[in-house]
Symmetry: C2
Subunit: 392 residues, 2 copies
């Protein structure tokens, strides 16, 4: 058995960034940049007013000034402002050459062709200098960044219509087991409904991969023969990795080119997980208990996809307080399903009483996984614990 | 000016849950359930073994027992187990009638047609009782729940292939302003590139809406005439809601049926925001500064969509420590862009030095918004503050 840490490191090391494609910015939410994106212009491209008012020279205020023109957003004043002149200006409009301050509308009074500036002015006040937000050539978002909605706005402001991103890694998966049927289809005697493939598929998509559902495989050697031909960046089986069934997956796949890197991890839920390669394609055999399947997917498939995208695979980790005591841990790293609550402005993690790895109901109701390292001593209510937030 | 709280309440009250559609479970990630989803079967549907080993009667261990058959997942033992008999059993297989314990493989020794049980047995040990995870008829996910990947797995386990969800609210938006051009297209004199529409569109989609980009509108009355005919659940304009421009949006839309509910909010960034209706369609005029646009969208468009989906629109709020001092606040509720860091297991929010509402670079770099209520007293480094996590 190897540690979770070592297993994650070995899995991650087996992948490197894959090919790229250029797509429209409007399609790029949550995609990962292949290159730094640099601004094509400065923002603002010129000094602009941040308020409605009058552009003047500082030394001319207070006073009564002739209004020699108007600068609107998208309709700049064509001339230059000279001493003892004012230009009517609106939010977002170019500050005319010669002006060095904006006096806001509320501090003025219009008198026909003149404006009465009732206050003194402050140099640069209410002027956004050119390049305040960013300058032409600045990196707006670095290679490896997963683009947020806010990034898209920023990149658009930099006058960039298309971005080069990593293509989506193709993640093919097959659930194994004679007992499985699809939801809504006739069930077999002693059979159950295939469940974790639906969660895994959605997770793969949310992590930036392209899920490829290879279907349900019966427990026969023959069922596996097509796996090595699958065109994918990672091939996954679900189930058949525990002691009794282990022989099947390994027996079926070894003659087809399976090379096993490791196949047992000191963790709970989980443990029987095969990692290696099938021909040239990385291969992951996830345990079949649905909670184990999905927790192991979070721990190993997510960083594998992140490595292929060239981005950080770090999970959303938080320090909170433990709401109930937990016994000392054994040799396996534990991922305890828990609810998060807030009391008196503090965040608490409340472990579910039953942690059976078959119980999807508990996993679905959980907000977080409490991380319990191997041999962690008993923990008490109020102790700080590290939790991984479960994704929506 | 009204408070953020009142504004959110008024916006939310203007929407109610919209129509539904039935879709395949595999397409339902992040969709919102219209009805409670109830399990069609119990899970497990029958008692199953959680380990590989032998099914026996408790009172027969330890001892040597004839192995009368085998129960595999999906291939149950057909008969009944009697006194002083054992059935070979595998993980996930049905526990034969008559057996009340599983002895794990490691505690046994096989001797031809017999098995030597080397330990005593414990009633119910390693048996998952029928309905351990859920029972037929149990609510697996309630109406109004936004479905997670884990929910999909749970619902699949309940033998449900299709779910009834709210349709995606149609959110139509148009940016106004003579100064605007699209990224990569020729810019106008004194013009800038439309940016926040790209962020808004991605946010709408991530909140469960269908974004409809109506394009860029010039600052003319005529440009607005088609807005009331748009087939949408919410019509949004960006820009043109501040003092100087206010007349345009209101002047253009009032003859077309705009009814204003309120149009100023005590908040920063933001303030000039119009909410009302355009004919029968709710209407929202967002401020034009891009940071104001996007923060106001998070505050008002997100709960509007949530109300249409019949789900909770609560944001991801956290209590952390303030990493730098902040001055006393004025009458406007402040949303301060900040970075989150973790030091010594504690979470800190570090406000950006410059908070100008035109600076998308700062918004994109931020992890969270520090909430500063109106008239909040000066805050010091180490004080607890409430932050809203910004979405990826």
């Amino acid at each position: 058995m190897i540690s979770v840490e070592e297993a994650v490191a070995r899995v991650t090391a087996a992948f490197s960034p894959i090919g790229t494609e250029t797509i429209a910015l409007s399609d790029a939410h949550n995609r990962v940049l292949a290159n730094d994106v640099r601004a094509k212009l400065s923002q603002p491209p010129f000094p602009v007013s941040s308020m409605d008012g009058y552009a003047i020279r500082t030394e001319d205020a207070p006073g009564t000034l002739p209004v020699i023109g108007e600068s609107q957003a998208g309709k700049p004043f064509a001339g230059t402002l000279s001493a003892r002149e004012a230009v009517r200006i609106f939010t977002g409009a170019v500050v005319p050459d010669g002006a060095d301050a904006i006096v806001i509308q509320e501090d003025t009074e219009r008198d026909g062709a003149h404006v009465i500036i009732k206050v003194s002015a402050q140099k640069g006040r209410h002027i956004r200098i050119a390049g305040l937000d960013f300058k032409a050539g600045d990196v707006l978002a670095p290679a490896g960044k997963r683009l947020t909605a806010r990034d898209l706005a920023l990149i658009a402001a930099g006058d960039i219509a298309n971005v080069e991103v990593r293509r989506r890694p193709r993640i093919a998966f097959a659930a194994t087991g004679d007992e499985l049927s699809r939801p809504g289809e006739p069930r077999k005697p002693g059979g159950i409904v295939a469940s974790s493939v639906y969660g895994l598929s959605a997770m793969i998509a949310s992590w930036g991969g392209e899920p490829i559902d290879l279907g349900l495989l019966p427990d026969t050697i023959e069922a596996f023969t097509k796996l090595p031909q699958v065109d994918a960046d990672l091939i996954i089986t679900l189930g058949g990795a525990s002691v009794g069934d282990r022989d099947l997956v390994q027996r079926a796949l070894e003659p087809l080119g399976l090379k096993v890197d490791f196949w047992k991890i000191a963790m709970r839920p989980g443990k029987p997980l095969i990692f290696g390669s099938l021909g040239d394609t990385p291969f992951l055999g996830l345990p079949g208990n649905p909670v184990s399947t999905l927790v192991c997917a979070m721990l190993f498939v997510r960083p594998a996809i992140a490595a292929m995208l060239g981005t950080s695979g770090e999970m959303n980790v938080l320090r909170v307080k433990l709401a109930a005591s937990l016994p000392a841990n054994d040799s396996r790293q534990d991922y305890i399903r828990a609810r998060l609550t807030t009391r008196d402005g503090e965040h608490w993690a409340e472990p579910f009483a039953v942690q059976d790895s078959s119980m999807l109901g508990v996993l679905a109701a959980a907000d977080a996984l409490i991380l319990r390292p191997p041999y962690a001593p008993a923990a008490h209510a109020g102790d700080p614990v590290t939790v991984t937030l479960l994704a929506p």
